[in-house]
Symmetry: C2
Subunit: 330 residues, 2 copies
């Protein structure tokens, strides 16, 4: 077993992931791994779908958030936590903090959909609305840190977040009868991918890692090509969980341990999303359909292999995505 | 334990259901029972969702079909089976028959959607297309019985079909820590409802049974009101699995043991369907969202109770229902 991997001067170790899992496992769901004969036939590989869409708050983000909150010293807990996000991390942090009796300050753009702010409020988060620019979000967040002394819990670019997300793959390896030949995760900011990289290097080093990225938000692809961190600019994709840039903790891990960043178009994502609905009978969000779409692009490497696909979440706007009309004129 | 219940001169016994379950359990999935804190809060009851949408071929129909096929004598097996259906029973019978090396003749209206005929063919069924009238479907079916000697496997109105469907509730009772106070199933032809009634009377007699029926196809409701079997005429509802009439085996059971047939409108079904998508993160077909919609109508009876809801299937036409456009112009 590799003793440790360093990124941005933080030393990640197998023990940190094992301890994180012990700390959070009673707070989260052990999500199932599903299989489908039909999808195996369509894709010519043995597919294992790790269903974090069934996770608490609807995504894997609860793992990093819970580990981050539970790792706080008690003096830090009294001052609360803060993050800026309108997505799955916001809901996850609100829920994780409330479970530990910690105040979660969530900075959200004032034009965020009501369904998202309602979810954060339902989980007990304290919302601060700000103008919808990245600069304002960061300023408001810094102000809360300065005023309240709250600790920033970053959605992906923080060691504890990455260690928490590493438990998805760690848990999957425990559940599978045989370790996978290939693991595929989506990549946005790179928290899930970096965590998966660590778990693979430490606990399943013969597994090859691919990441799936929307072609309309392909900063990780371009970073790997140019061998330097390229920020995400004007991303355009239906995969609303994958719009962010890599960070200084996630980028070195991704650079050194990812076999390939596979780009997929929105139409390819939609096709895969429909296949998941049809054959697995589960709801996932577009961002995680990227992993299934990616297989078509690397068929020569996945053919006949055992492939672990991490389905990262299931938070879609049902009203937008499903179009059902009554027939009985009710 | 009640020793038996007679319907249309057939004596249903607990032993028949136990033996059926032993015979089919290796051929089917033991489907999970899911729960959701959010839905419990919304509905004010403790809800248990039996997920037959995850069943082989996407619905509970595989249970009755498998039991019917496996109960054939070997002389009958060589002559094949036949049914007329364009829905879940057709797929189930095609699959169940192929698993036993039996030919399944499926009579389908020539205007059935390609997605349905493709599914039957995929499972190895032999399709005979006929003009789209009930008379033609019955004539064509009789012709196959006469020519090939194939045995008709009815979608609901046959003792073995009903006994097979009874294993849904039977299996659920084994899975639950405590037996439910209330059980709700959809009602179309009444196979699932009749089977559930038998399992409740034999194995959980303190459970009260409700059935959910589309207001636009309310023949069971009208039958119970008038105390005689009223056939379904010009049904209009998005619940395409619940258009059929009760039969002489299902009607007496439903008449004698159902607390109430609860009518729900398509709009109520759609609202419940979206709640299942949002909170359980699973795909179900409109027909089975009726059971959740029904709770709102009998709140005074379900409040605070343990309610087992049978989600009968997950076969929706994804292309029709799903409305998501690419953003990346791919």
């Amino acid at each position: 077993m590799i003793r440790g991997i360093r990124s941005n001067n933080f030393l990640f170790t197998p023990k940190l992931i094992e301890q994180a899992y012990d700390l959070i496992r009673d707070e989260i769901h052990e999500t199932p791994i599903l299989t489908s004969k039909s999808l195996n036939e369509i894709y010519g590989a043995e597919l294992f779908f790790k269903c974090e869409n069934f996770q608490k708050t609807g995504s894997f983000k609860i793992r990093g958030a819970t580990y981050s909150v539970k790792s706080l010293r008690s003096s830090e807990k009294t001052k609360g936590v803060v993050t800026h996000s309108s997505g799955n991390h916001a809901q996850a942090l609100a829920y994780a903090a409330s479970q530990s009796g910690v105040t979660a300050n969530i900075v959200m753009p004032e034009n965020a959909p009501a369904v998202k702010s309602n979810a954060v409020q339902k989980y007990g988060g304290l919302i601060t609305f700000c103008p919808p620019t990245l600069e304002d979000r960061e300023n408001y967040t810094e102000k809360i840190v300065a005023l309240k002394g709250s600790k920033l819990i970053h959605p992906y670019n923080q060691p504890n977040t990455i260690i928490g997300q590493a438990t998805v793959a760690f848990e999957s390896f425990k559940q599978l009868e045989q370790l996978p030949d290939i693991l595929i995760t989506p990549v946005g900011g790179g928290g899930l991918l970096s965590g998966s990289i660590l778990s693979v290097q430490f606990f399943s080093p013969r597994t090859t890692i691919f990441a799936a990225e929307p072609a309309g938000a392909n900063d990780a692809f371009r970073s790997l090509q140019s061998n330097e961190l390229v920020p995400s600019t004007n991303p355009s994709t239906i995969c609303d969980g994958l719009l962010t840039s890599l960070g200084e903790y996630t980028w070195p891990l991704i650079r050194d341990y990812t076999q390939e960043i596979v780009q997929v178009t929105d139409n390819e994502v939609i096709r895969s999303l429909k296949e998941v609905f049809q054959y697995l009978k589960i709801i996932i969000e577009p961002s995680c359909a990227t992993v299934l779409a990616a297989i078509k692009k690397i068929e020569n490497q996945t053919a006949g292999k055992r492939v672990l696909l991490i389905l990262s979440g299931g938070n879609i706007e049902v009203e937008k995505v499903f179009n059902l009309k009554p027939k009985d004129h009710s």
